[in-house]
């Protein structure tokens, strides 16, 4: 019971505190509502990135991987929506700055990381929707998704860390560290589970043929 509460508490606090801290940022006083919305959409997207690996790994007590996988699809859709709001809102706020970012000609070092992460997120979303129609084998799909997930997490974390914006530094770094840790953990676990399953299958085949 204590462990259950602890895990949920850590994850909820890790996502809620950065959002609350950003809501107290003095910079908000000098921003339009649309710019504020676009910024928060980015923070929410980073927060969802903590839930994504945790859901897949089934690390949340009460949410086993079997259910978590389904929730992961919906939170993934919310992530896509957040990214679209983030980019569209910033585009309307200052078109030349967003166009520079999308064309990789921006002076800000964090922009290309964000844009690459955006394309990787959209690629995962498109593949998730079309993979059956495209005849993508599950194994290929999982491999591609995992590679893109690494691009998404690294891109987003670097993007977020380099930005001087409304996010408070300590809570931002903590959330980024947890996102990376959760991603590494689920990748390692998935690799281990698959390896174990392969070994089991091999043993089963060996046993039945004997």
């Amino acid at each position: 019971m204590a462990r259950l509460i602890l895990i949920w508490a850590v994850i909820v606090v890790a996502v809620a505190v950065p959002i609350a801290a950003a809501a107290l940022s003095p910079l908000l006083a000098w921003r339009d509502p649309l710019y504020i919305l676009a910024g928060f959409a980015g923070i929410v997207a980073l927060g969802i990135m903590l839930f994504q690996p945790v859901l897949i790994g089934g690390y949340l007590p009460g949410l086993p991987a079997r259910i978590g996988r389904r929730v992961h699809l919906w939170t993934g859709a919310v992530l896509v929506a957040a990214v679209v709001i983030h980019v569209a809102g910033l585009w309307i706020t200052s078109p030349p700055d967003m166009i520079d970012a999308l064309l990789f000609t921006s002076p800000t070092p964090f922009s290309p990381f964000g844009v690459i992460a955006m394309w990787a997120i959209l690629a995962v979303a498109v593949l998730a929707v079309l993979r059956r129609r495209l005849g993508l084998r599950p194994r290929t799909w999982f491999l591609v998704h995992r590679l893109l997930a690494i691009v998404i997490v690294v891109g987003t974390v670097v993007h977020g860390l380099l930005i001087e914006g409304t996010m408070e530094t300590v809570s931002k770094v903590a959330l980024c560290a947890l996102v990376v840790a959760a991603t590494v953990k689920v990748m390692a676990d998935l690799w281990m589970w698959r390896k174990r399953r392969t070994v089991h299958e091999r043993t089963d085949i060996g046993a039945s043929s004997a």
Binding site: L27, W30, S94, D97, T108, E164, G165
Partner: protein, 162 residues
């Protein structure tokens, strides 16, 4: 074996570089290259509004934008040059007309314009400056503040004939 070679090679290259730069610096202390024309910075022209009025101060002030304007080659200070300045400040967004203003350089080629405090926008606390008067080639600068708490920022122009 290859490591040793690489180390030696690096050492020779580094030593050579020091020698070349060291001696050339000693032999030619003030070369024309020291005043190479300033290139426009990426994003420098973002939210530019042509023809910003020449003002004594932008808005209520409190922040100082300063710099110099020199001629490419000999570095002679250029007096009476119009520099346009804009930024996202406590009093307005980059694209708002009230965020824009222009000033002229003095006889030493220096300019200084008071403006509202710049606040970070699009991830960096930065300002924009433009030379766009036609006599020299247009240059757009986008200096970044070392800290968002800074109350001044500098930008320097070396202009070449249009």
């Amino acid at each position: 074996m290859s490591t040793i070679l690489l180390n030696r090679r690096t050492l020779i290259a580094a030593g050579g570089a020091v020698l070349v730069t060291g001696t050339s610096g000693l032999l030619l202390p003030a070369r024309a290259d020291d005043f190479a024309p300033t290139a426009s910075m990426p994003g420098g022209a973002n939210n530019y509004r042509a023809g910003a009025p020449t003002v004594d101060r932008i808005g209520k002030g409190g922040f100082w934008m300063s710099g110099t304007v020199r001629r490419a080659g000999d570095g002679a200070p250029l007096a009476g040059q119009r520099i346009q300045i804009w930024a996202h400040t406590t009093e307005g967004r980059e694209q708002d007309p009230q965020s824009h203003g222009a000033t002229l350089t003095d006889k030493n080629g220096a300019f200084r314009l008071e403006m509202p405090q710049i606040v970070p926008v699009f991830g960096q606390p930065h300002g924009h400056l433009a030379y766009d008067s036609g006599e020299f080639k247009t240059v757009f600068l986008r200096p970044v503040m070392g800290s968002a708490k800074d109350t001044s920022l500098e930008a320097h122009f070396v202009l070449q004939p249009a």
